[in-house]
């Protein structure tokens, strides 16, 4: 049996907390400033152009949205898969999922050509558009997770939290399928147009969400000086390793299927061999630094005992995920459309040439501003609502396992 978990708001008066709030506010303000600049001068001040129409803001937004659905992992493990060890983290998991999603959506909206017409997007629906589906998937996710959180926090509703947890779990799978399908359904572009992008995005959501969640949990424990045992951390890092391997598997299958089709050899050659920055990002950052290195770190018998290594591995997974999205989003657009197979093509409109894209400061500010907004919301919510557990010590998480590890250790010490 598990000891009763207590949740408590943080006091929120320490200089460290105020400094965190202040820093995040500055970043949010920078993001808003970028949005105003873009609204005034138009998108030509960004690196985006008529060839690469989605840029850095979309990478930030997709990263946040995908990580949001993955951040719900801990809650799902406790409610859906009955892993009681995750129960103390379920509330944080739900709140983080909501704030990350909101941060991602804010970036997407502020990057629209006409953000002032958001109400048009809410009133005119084309039900054949995956974007329109996603509007429902995102708002639905926020609503469902909010209810789920309420059921978890409010004692009288506790008994319904399993049902809410199941709904949220299924919804987050559908949501990530929707995000992947934004690209998967684009028949015109060689790099997209693949059904496997949906499961690939789901796998990415598991790994990126877990990585963010591990980092947030460790930061919260350190910042609030509440105990965090090795047990829960070890479980999470093992899962992270499995998820990272899962992403690699889907990436492998995606490229293998495409390599089999002759008509896709050129685009695959571009990403895998001759694409310059995209090839570098794919092999070195996504596969090397973002997948293989963290896998070694997470499963190495000695290194993986260190919290710093776990934190570093989580960070690297996020860097790898960013690179992966960069390759998918920008690389897929930079490769020219093959309108006339078998022909060399040239024109004044950049047909037949690899499009150039240089991310601008404005886009970076917008992306970072949205990310900061997500964490600002999180920081505010944990001050006012009982989200964080008072303790994540081993005895709290799983007394049974804690006792056996302790006795094993003392036995080893004695021997």
């Amino acid at each position: 049996m598990t000891l009763k978990t207590h949740f408590r708001e943080i006091e929120g008066r320490s200089p460290r907390y105020l400094l965190l709030l202040g820093g995040l506010l500055v970043l949010v303000a920078l993001g808003l400033f970028a949005a105003v600049l873009k609204g005034t001068y138009g998108h030509h001040i960004t690196g985006m152009n008529n060839q690469v129409v989605w840029g850095l803001p979309h990478i930030f937004a997709i990263l946040l949205i995908v990580a949001a659905s993955g951040a719900l992992n801990a809650a799902s493990f406790s409610s859906v898969f009955g892993r009681v060890a995750y129960k103390p983290l379920a509330r944080l998991s739900g709140v983080l999922a909501m704030t990350l999603l909101i941060g991602g959506l804010v970036i997407l909206v502020l990057d629209l050509g006409r953000p002032d017409r958001l109400v048009v997007a809410m009133t005119h629906y084309n039900f054949k558009s995956i974007f329109a589906w996603n509007i429902f998937l995102y708002t639905g996710f926020l609503a469902i997770v909010a209810v789920y959180l309420w059921f978890m926090i409010e004692k009288r509703m506790n008994r319904y939290s399993t049902i809410a947890g199941y709904t949220a779990f299924i919804w987050r799978l559908v949501l990530t399928t929707g995000t992947g399908s934004i690209f998967g359904f684009l028949v015109a572009r060689e790099a997209y147009d693949a059904a496997i992008l949906a499961p690939l995005f789901i796998a990415m959501s598991f790994s990126l969400g877990m990585a963010v969640f591990i980092l947030v949990t460790m930061a919260m424990a350190a910042g609030t000086e509440r105990p965090l045992g090795d047990l829960i951390l070890r479980r999470m890092k093992n899962l992270l390793g499995i998820f990272v391997a899962g992403v690699l598997y889907f990436v492998l299958v995606y490229h293998l299927t495409n390599l089999y089709a002759t008509r896709l050899h050129d685009v695959q050659g571009f990403i895998l061999l001759s694409g310059g920055i995209y090839t570098f990002l794919f092999w070195v950052v996504q596969v090397g630094i973002g997948s293989i290195v963290p896998l070694v770190m997470l499963f190495h018998p000695v290194w993986s005992q260190s919290r710093r290594v776990i934190a570093a591995a989580s960070g690297l997974v996020l860097v790898g995920g960013f690179a992966q999205l960069y390759v998918i989003v920008i690389g897929g657009q930079a490769y020219p459309l093959e309108m006339f197979p078998g022909y060399e093509m040239s024109s004044t409109f950049y047909d037949g040439v690899v499009a150039s894209y240089t991310p601008s400061m404005v886009e970076l500010m917008l992306g970072i501003g949205g990310t900061a907004f997500a964490f600002l919301l999180l920081a505010v919510v944990i001050k006012f609502l009982p989200i964080l557990p008072t303790s994540l010590a081993d005895a709290q998480v799983d007394p049974h396992a804690a006792r056996s590890t302790a006795s094993a250790q003392s036995a080893a010490a004695g021997a």
Binding site: H43, M48, N50, V53
Partner: protein, 245 residues
């Protein structure tokens, strides 16, 4: 801007016709009836299209491009990466044989346009006469249509504009593309700026017409001589057809 319908004015009271004498009757302050007298749209039952004979399209000639951009007020703002282009000349070289040719490419006005499928707000739409347009009143500037278009036909307006042509509204933050000179079509000109320019230069590489009218020149030539579509494998059934590629 208010998008709501006035309670005073129902939609049914308000349908009126093109180029028709409109009689209006004020029933009460703010309530009135408009009666179109025998209105027929120029769009009924037609499907406008272009036939482009690449063998007649001269390499290096950009008359159609200049005429289109002149007609619709599409100006360069000195930034080629973000400048809009509604039509461009594409130069092709066969990788296997080295055969060269050039041809104009613009919005292909598909019957099943991917841009319309993906548009979240229905701003991309097909008119009943087959012309694919962007409704800039509802375009939110998400650029998903540009991702979806197999022809790279669309441009996003990256900066504020002034001095648009009255018949071709264009503005920052929305997406645009070839309108098949919809203002000329609706006026009954029976041609487009690019076709006019090509004929004026004596190349006669482009033909405009109604694909649904079996007696039109374009329909007859398509039937007799055959044609291809760009990316025919996608089965979008474009209204712009090519000969010679």
């Amino acid at each position: 801007m208010s998008e709501e319908n006035s309670p005073n004015l129902s939609r049914r009271q308000f349908i009126s016709g093109a180029a028709a004498v409109v009689a209006s009757l004020t029933v009460a302050p703010g309530v009135f009836l408009l009666k179109p007298a025998g209105a027929a749209s120029n769009a009924d039952g037609k499907r406008w299209g272009l036939l482009i004979d690449t063998s007649k399209c001269a390499d290096g000639c950009t008359a159609c491009v200049t005429a289109c951009h002149e007609e619709n007020g599409v100006h360069s703002l000195g930034r080629p990466q973000t400048d809009a282009q509604w039509i461009r000349k594409v130069h092709l070289t066969d990788r296997a044989t080295g055969h060269q040719q050039s041809l104009p490419v613009m919005c292909q006005h598909c019957e099943h346009p991917p841009c319309v499928d993906v548009c979240p707000t229905k701003a991309s739409f097909v008119r009943p006469d087959g012309i694919v347009l962007v409704d800039k009143h509802t375009c939110i500037g998400c650029r998903y249509c540009m991702m979806a278009c197999p022809y790279k036909a669309r441009s996003f307006i990256h900066e504020p504009l002034t001095d648009q042509k009255p018949h071709a509204p264009r503005g920052k933050g929305t997406v645009e593309s070839c309108t098949l000179c919809v203002h000329k079509v609706d006026r009954g000109d029976g041609t487009t700026a690019c076709v006019e320019a090509c004929n004026k230069d004596g190349h006669r590489a482009m033909t405009f017409g109604d694909l649904n009218d079996p007696d039109s020149e374009i329909a007859r030539r398509l039937k007799e001589q055959g044609s291809t579509a760009i990316r025919a494998d996608l089965r979008l059934n474009p209204a712009v057809r090519y000969q010679g590629i």
